[in-house]
């Protein structure tokens, strides 16, 4: 545990000295600020953050892979992966720290959006319940996105490829429900394909949070999928042993 903290600390510090992280953070805040201003924050609109929460799912699909792309691919490219993995630390500790470091940076990126809550509170009387559950949804969604980003980063020494692979996986996860499921048969040989694909989609699990519903199924979905992505990342690191 001590080593995970040490590695996580290094990870977080390295984010705050890396220009690309600030660029991604600025991009995220500008776009989400615009969306908030246009759709949620004008007179007559309900004092809620539903549309911004829904749109954030899409913005983060692009921003998080850019933030996470350097985690392992940069180590691989510069050769520091060799010094890291020949130190007395396990592959699991390394991956856990990469995830935690990036996730903490993600949370730091999310923090300035709390200003929206303050603004809504100043000019209206918002219902704080759905806002709190929406943020819980974002925190969980971020865990999944970051885990996928770290996984994509473990596959290659090229950061651009890592980011693109990250987008593609996240887009697949998001599109699975609303689009792909419509072309699938609802029942074929006794197996409910459409229902299965809808359940696998990130969107169908995410939207409930912004509506104020906290369902344990959704929480389990995000945590389990994030853990699975991290498990695959550990396997990719271990694959140097048998490749």
């Amino acid at each position: 545990m001590g080593k995970i903290l040490l590695l996580t600390r290094r990870e977080v510090v390295s984010y705050f000295v890396s220009p690309i992280a600030y660029v991604a953070m600025a991009l995220y805040l500008v776009i989400s600020g615009l969306i908030f201003g246009l759709f949620d924050f004008h007179s007559g609109a309900p004092a809620a953050m539903r549309s911004i929460f829904d749109v954030m799912m899409i913005i983060l699909m692009f921003v998080v892979p850019i933030v996470a792309m350097r985690t392992l691919s940069e180590e691989r490219r510069s050769g520091t992966l060799e010094t890291l993995l020949t130190a007395p630390v396990t592959d699991v500790q390394v991956v856990a720290a990469k995830f935690l470091g990036t996730w903490l940076f993600y949370l730091a990126m999310l923090a300035p959006t709390l200003v929206y809550v303050v603004l809504l509170g100043a000019f209206g009387r918002p219902d704080y319940g759905p806002i709190a559950s929406g943020y819980l949804g974002l925190v969980l969604l971020g865990a999944l996105y970051v885990a996928v980003g770290v996984f994509a980063s473990s596959l290659t020494s090229n950061q651009v490829i890592a980011a693109v692979v990250g987008f593609v996986i996240l887009i697949m996860l998001a599109l699975l429900g609303p689009w792909i499921s419509t072309i699938l048969p609802s029942d074929w040989h006794g197996i409910p394909w459409r229902g299965i694909v809808q359940q696998a989609s990130a969107k169908s699990h995410y939207t409930d949070f912004s509506q104020g519903v906290v369902d344990a199924t959704h929480v389990v979905y995000f945590l389990a999928l994030a853990l699975y992505a991290l498990f695959l990342t550990v396997k990719v690191l271990e694959s140097r042993r048998w490749r």
């Binding site: 290094r10 020949t86 130190a87």
Partner: protein
């Protein structure tokens, strides 16, 4: 003396390429061993296996009594490793990086500051301790790498090409530092330049094309080479009957001579290379033959091959073997 590094019949395949072919050698406690071989001979592969970064395809290896595959973490906490080209985090400061690595290597937090202080002193990093690693010159980066390997005071140090890319003054300093580590630390360092390791190391392991070609102390290797001495004679014939062939035949029959090679030295002189039988010194007998025939003699020289020649011979033999393999 206990063996700190033991390598037994270690082989490594990269796909269909054999990088390491049943390599066997040992390093005893306190020795400084040079791991010598041309580029691509399998040096880095061996070192990566020893540090647990890569597994071997077959064979076994142990460091400080721990198997590199089964007890990888124990091995890693006993080894300070400096990979080739010294990968470092450019965005960290020297002191900050060394503290971080000391923590990773289980130096208790109470002793971390002192440990870092010690290696900063030892590797002449005082002036750059607050500089960003990314802005340092190659020589300083190399020193940071060495300091990092030393920071947890490990019993075994594995250094991959520690002096490559340094200027002559830095090479001298690094050599002196490595020599001062002998005794308390066991050091295995790789290089492709013989004079480099000859001056730093007490023992050599020579590897070529994935095979261990020679291993032993520098003294033993030299003594072994002395057994392969030869005598060079330059003689001119005075009559047509005594051609170079006749000279070689006559000298070949002298007592204590195993074989003779001849080559033309120009102006009617013939150079004869005499390989003595094991343990014999045929110089007097050779002189007898030359004096009896009345051949003018302008040189008789006793030649012991140098380590350099042995190394060139090994690497040239390997080059010839690869060429033959390519042709086949």
């Amino acid at each position: 003396m206990a063996a700190m590094i033991e390598v037994e019949a270690l082989s490594k395949w990269y796909g269909r390429t054999l990088a390491l072919d049943r390599a066997t050698f040992g390093v005893e406690k306190g020795q400084i061993v040079g791991f010598l071989g041309p580029n691509g001979a399998g040096k880095s592969t061996t070192l990566r296996i020893l540090t647990g970064y890569l597994p071997a395809t077959s064979g076994r290896a142990s460091v400080a009594g721990h198997d590199v595959l089964l007890e990888s973490l124990a091995v890693r906490s006993h080894v300070g490793y400096m990979p080739e080209n010294v990968p470092l985090y450019g965005e960290m400061r020297v002191q900050e990086y060394l503290r971080f690595r000391a923590g990773l290597k289980d130096v208790p937090s109470a002793r971390r500051r002192a440990a870092v202080e010690r290696v900063i002193e030892r590797c002449w990093l005082k002036d750059v301790r607050r500089r960003l690693i990314g802005q340092l010159s190659k020589g300083f980066r190399q020193r940071v790498g060495l300091a990092e390997a030393l920071v947890a005071d490990p019993p075994v140090l594995i250094l991959d090409e520690p002096t490559i890319g340094l200027d002559p003054a830095q090479i001298q300093e690094t050599r002196r530092l490595i020599r001062s580590l002998g005794g308390q630390h066991t050091v295995l360092l790789s290089s492709h330049i013989l004079p480099e390791v000859e001056r730093t190391c007490s023992h050599l392991v020579i590897i070529a094309a994935g095979r261990i070609a020679a291993a032993g102390s520098v003294e033993d290797l030299r003594t072994g080479l002395a057994q392969r001495h030869r005598i060079i004679l330059e003689v001119r014939s005075t009559s047509a009957a005594d051609g170079p062939a006749e000279m070689a035949r006559a000298l070949g029959q002298a007592a204590g001579v195993a074989s003779v090679q001849r080559e033309d030295a120009g102006d009617g002189w013939t150079r004869l290379i005499i390989f003595p039988a094991a343990g014999s010194d045929p110089r007097e007998a050779l002189f007898g033959v030359v004096a009896q025939r009345g051949w003018p003699l302008r040189e008789m020289r006793w030649q012991v091959p140098t380590l350099e020649e042995l190394y060139v011979e090994i690497t040239a033999g390997e080059a010839a073997a690869t060429a033959a393999k390519g042709a086949a």
